[in-house]
């Protein structure tokens, strides 16, 4: 207690920096003295979960991170994979959840800006953006404001900066009403000969500050992002940064040009914790020190004190270590693009971050204390699953009302399967996201091979912007997470996330290569929150190992909880979003989800057994029966790998005309989507499996299932291929029809017969209709 009682700060001031009393004591131990205000602020942001992963690091360690194609794994600004033929892809995902909850437009916009900087800091030109968004119910006015604001923010920033937003996912669930999730993934193609790293090197080398000016905006955003949101969070609006995509576009061009001179030794973008984070990380990674003079920093307002300089999260700024003597060459490039560039410091021998201000030392801290040797919390895992999970697992489909071939009676009303299908298509989570992606420029750069909404993953041609001769290869990317599964069973749910991502890539014909993950969870300080986090990490690790898709980095966003006015925390569903990239060696061999020709034969790959298909955690159960319970589908790795391999082979051999995986809403929704995508009908006969209920047959999820369509000429060869590689896990289910009906029957009973027009009305208007109030 003596350390705290002699501290020049009150406990409240320490807490305001996001630090716990014992962390303050640790700071004093490290420094051998009390910190000053600026230093306290620096520790506050750098020891936040957002910057140092103090809760999640022990869990992240279990992820597989190496592989033959992995050039850069976790720890740098982004991961880099080798695509062959001299092409290298940088990619990463990042969250901007808390800022978006308070100021959706700027919060989402700067989320885009931040992840793009991670990419071009490495020397890669950003070529694509994807986003994974989660909101509460659209029936709620506040959610509508958040949703439209976030979409407008992404549109504003991404469109202006000239990087196509090619894909993503949007979920709506009351679990996110107070705390939306905005995760943005960016892909970039390496444009420099060497991957630009962030470790400072070369004693005496100048440290350049480039880009925009520093102001008081975004003060302490990292600490803000690492605390629960509350009714009071609106007051934190200054912690939300304001982005300028025009400056970022110029910064991309200037940085790539600068890197190509070979005069840049290391680079780091200023994201969370701004100058503090960039100086300490560059110094710590390089095993050297950095001395920086704040008087050299271009500012946008006067009278700032070191604390404000150091914690500012003004956007569009970068820190470079340059080769001594070549700084002017770099400065000229930035000036040509109308950007600031100044020598603000130098690399020093002593491994410290020394901040000068008005001729005096304003802060002096060992670099590793800020950036590498940071606190770490090993928390205890619950010895058995928490009660909510055990209770949920007791649910079985026996609890549902009885149903028959025509429909189901729910609380006194009878619903036909047609009505149920249309209701599910009208669910915003399932419905068309055209309202969203139509606002994103998804074609700029002239490489978008698959337009949004048309396939299970985005496909972008790989082409150096500098040359006319394009390569024949493409990259596929997807972001996925079914959070209901993860909530019900974090381990199985997380495995399913990875499996679905890999399946989506396989459906377009891409070989899955690597993963970037965004762990959006509640508070790890609560036993249930930590259990969810730990179990989900174990699931991700196992699945990434099974699919040979190493994790190259990502982002952790904890404390995603909303405190209501009574102070009760309302955690979100645990949401480990997986961004996965895959390689398409020949971009003429790809596949969309819609049918191609009437008369094509439709096959269902995967398992339709009772043991694999379930309504537990399904969209049907949640939407139609208002129940979130049961055991989610369990991933059968062998089956998944076999189905996905068959699908990829089918695409690359040109045998498959369409491929679409069965996800939320089961086979009925997958069939409807394939019809909607193509405007062709389908006549389907499902084999009656006496063990399955009718609703399980139509809307059950799981089973690693993929729907593919094949020309009749291919039938014999294709079926013998299937028989060889998926002996008991495929069935012929029907034909693509030129009329505009989706018909689903068993051998003797018609279950669903509905026109594409009617389906389209629900599917396309679900989101606009709810916004138009």
């Amino acid at each position: 207690m003596s350390v705290l009682s002699s501290a020049p700060f009150s406990l409240e001031e320490i807490a305001n920096e996001g630090l716990k009393p014992e962390e303050y004591e640790e700071i004093v131990r490290r420094l051998g003295r009390h910190p000053n205000k600026a230093e306290l602020g620096m520790f506050g942001v750098m020891w936040s979960e957002h910057c140092c992963y103090k809760n999640s690091r022990p869990l992240l360690k279990q992820f597989p991170t190496t592989g033959s194609r992995i050039l850069v794994g976790p720890g740098e600004n982004a991961g880099v994979v080798d695509l062959g033929n001299g092409l290298q892809l940088a990619f990463k995902i990042e969250s901007h959840n808390h800022p978006s909850a308070v100021e959706p437009f700027q919060g989402a916009a700067t989320g885009v800006g931040g992840i793009l900087r991670d990419i071009f800091t490495m020397g890669a030109r950003p070529i694509a953006l994807l986003n994974s968004l989660r909101f509460g119910s659209l029936e709620d006015a506040k959610t509508r404001r958040l949703f439209t604001g976030v979409v407008a923010g992404i549109s504003h920033y991404g469109n202006c900066v000239g990087v196509p937003t090619v894909g993503g996912e949007v979920y709506f669930d009351p679990a996110y009403s107070g705390n939306p999730l905005v995760n943005v993934m960016a892909l970039g193609l390496m444009e420099t000969e060497e991957i630009v790293k962030s470790g400072a090197a070369g004693l005496g080398n100048p440290v350049l500050y480039v880009g925009s000016t520093t102001g008081r905006d975004g003060m302490g955003g990292a600490s803000f992002a690492s605390a629960e949101l509350s009714d009071e969070s609106e007051k934190d609006r200054p912690a939300v940064q304001v982005g300028d995509p025009f400056l970022e576009k110029s910064l991309i061009e200037a940085c790539l040009e600068a890197f190509k001179t070979g005069a840049v030794v290391a680079a780091q973008d200023m994201g969370a914790a701004g100058i503090t984070c960039s100086t300490s990380e560059m110094a710590a990674k390089g095993g050297v020190g950095i001395e920086l003079d704040l008087n050299e920093i271009p500012v946008r307002e006067t009278g700032m004190v070191p604390y404000e300089y150091l914690l500012s999260e003004s956007q569009e700024r970068m820190l470079f270590v340059a080769e001594k003597g070549r700084e002017q060459e770099l400065i000229d490039i930035f000036h040509r693009w109308g950007l600031h560039a100044v020598v603000a410091g130098k690399v020093i021998n002593e491994p410290i971050v020394r901040i000068l201000f008005q001729g005096r030392i304003a802060a002096e801290i060992p670099a590793t204390a800020l950036a590498e040797n940071t606190p770490i919390y090993h928390r205890e895992l619950l010895s058995e699953p928490p009660e909510y999970a055990r209770k949920a697992w007791e649910w079985t489909s026996d609890r549902l009302p009885l149903c028959n071939a025509s429909g189901i009676e729910i609380q006194g009303s009878f619903y036909t399967w047609n009505e149920i299908l249309l209701t599910l298509l009208d669910t915003p989570t399932i419905a068309s996201k055209r309202w969203v992606y139509r606002q994103y420029d998804h074609q700029v750069q002239n490489n978008t091979v698959m337009l949004p909404g048309g396939a299970d993953a985005a496909v972008v041609r790989l082409r150096s912007q500098e040359q006319s001769a394009p390569s024949n290869s493409a990259v596929a990317a997807t972001v996925d997470c079914n959070p209901r599964y993860v909530y019900l069973n974090p381990y199985e749910g997380a495995k399913a996330v990875v499996a679905e991502a890999a399946r989506n890539l396989s459906c377009v014909g891409a070989e899955p290569l690597a993963v970037t993950d965004n762990l959006n969870f509640g508070s790890p300080e609560k036993p249930i929150g930590y259990w969810q986090l730990a179990e989900a990490c174990r699931g991700l690790a196992d699945a990434c190992r099974e699919f040979q898709t190493p994790v190259t980095g990502g982002n952790v966003s904890l404390y995603n909880e909303t405190l209501d006015s009574y102070g009760n925390p309302q955690p979100i569903y645990p949401t480990p979003v997986v961004g996965m990239v895959g390689l398409i060696p020949d971009l003429t061999k790809i596949c969309t989800q819609g049918w191609k020709n009437a008369g094509d034969i439709i096959y269902l790959l995967g398992s339709s057994l009772k043991s694999q298909i379930t309504l537990g955690g399904s969209e049907y159960l949640a939407t139609i029966h208002n129940t979130v319970a049961g055991l989610p589908p369990q991933v059968d790795f062998d089956l998944e790998r076999q189905v996905q391999a068959v699908c990829r082979q089918g695409v690359s051999q040109g045998r498959i005309n369409s491929a679409h995986d069965c996800a939320e809403g089961g086979i009925a929704i997958a069939l409807a989507e394939a019809c909607l995508s193509s405007n062709l009908g389908a006549n389907i006969t499902l084999t009656l499996n006496t063990q399955l209920r009718w609703d399980e047959l139509l809307f059950g999820e799981g089973g690693a299932r993929v729907l593919v369509s094949v020309s009749p000429e291919q039938q014999t060869q294709w079926e013998s291929y299937l028989q060889q590689h998926l002996p008991s896990n495929w069935q012929k289910v029907g034909l693509v029809e030129s009329d505009t009906f989706l018909r689903i029957s068993t051998s003797d009973q018609l279950l669903i017969e509905v026109t594409i027009e009617l389906m389209r009305d629900r599917y396309c208007n679900a989101i606009p209709r709810r916004l138009d109030v």
Partner: protein, 222 residues
Amino acid sequence: MKFGIVVFPGSNCDRDVAYVTRLLQQPTRMVWHEDTDISDLDVVIIPGGFSYGDYLRCGAIARFSPVMQQVIKHAEQGKFVLGICNGFQVLTEAGLLPGALIRNRDLHFICDRVSLKVVRTDLPWTQNYTQGEILTLPIAHGEGQFYADEDTIKQIEDNGQVLFRYHGENPNGSVNNIAGICNVKGNVIGMMPHPERASDPVLGSTDGLGLFKGIGARAKSD
């Protein structure tokens, strides 16, 4: 016989256009916004993007750039100028084309593929199309609603300055479904749709390629 593509800070379709002109093996160079000598060029293309951030108003700052003074002279000499999307906005701001582009009717940015009818085919630009031909071209804009006062619209129509009209659904509320126009002489054209995004078979459409082929052929024969 040479294409020049203007690069303002904030331009983001400059490389996309260059990719297409180079695919067609047309000599092409990028023209920096501060350049003051473009006398070597036959065709100037002002690409899409957000020139100078589109602050104040789309294209409003770009018109004052050094290169635009040269582009105006280039146009006055009867040489060719094409403005695509933001480039169209810049040309109207610079007074090389009539009218203005204002916010889309629904106030949202729209990225989509739309149907266009080719109205005139007697210009080098559109010589590879047939009268009334329906093209599908991508659009991507927040301020693409073509607007002019009644008198100006009447003049545009009377002079036959409309090159392309939206066919079927009018995506942004443009007056008379106008998607692209030319000046009276026909050497300067502006359009909101992106022909360069529909010029590569790998990406699924080549409906825009005719425009570049048309002007390329003309520039060569000059």
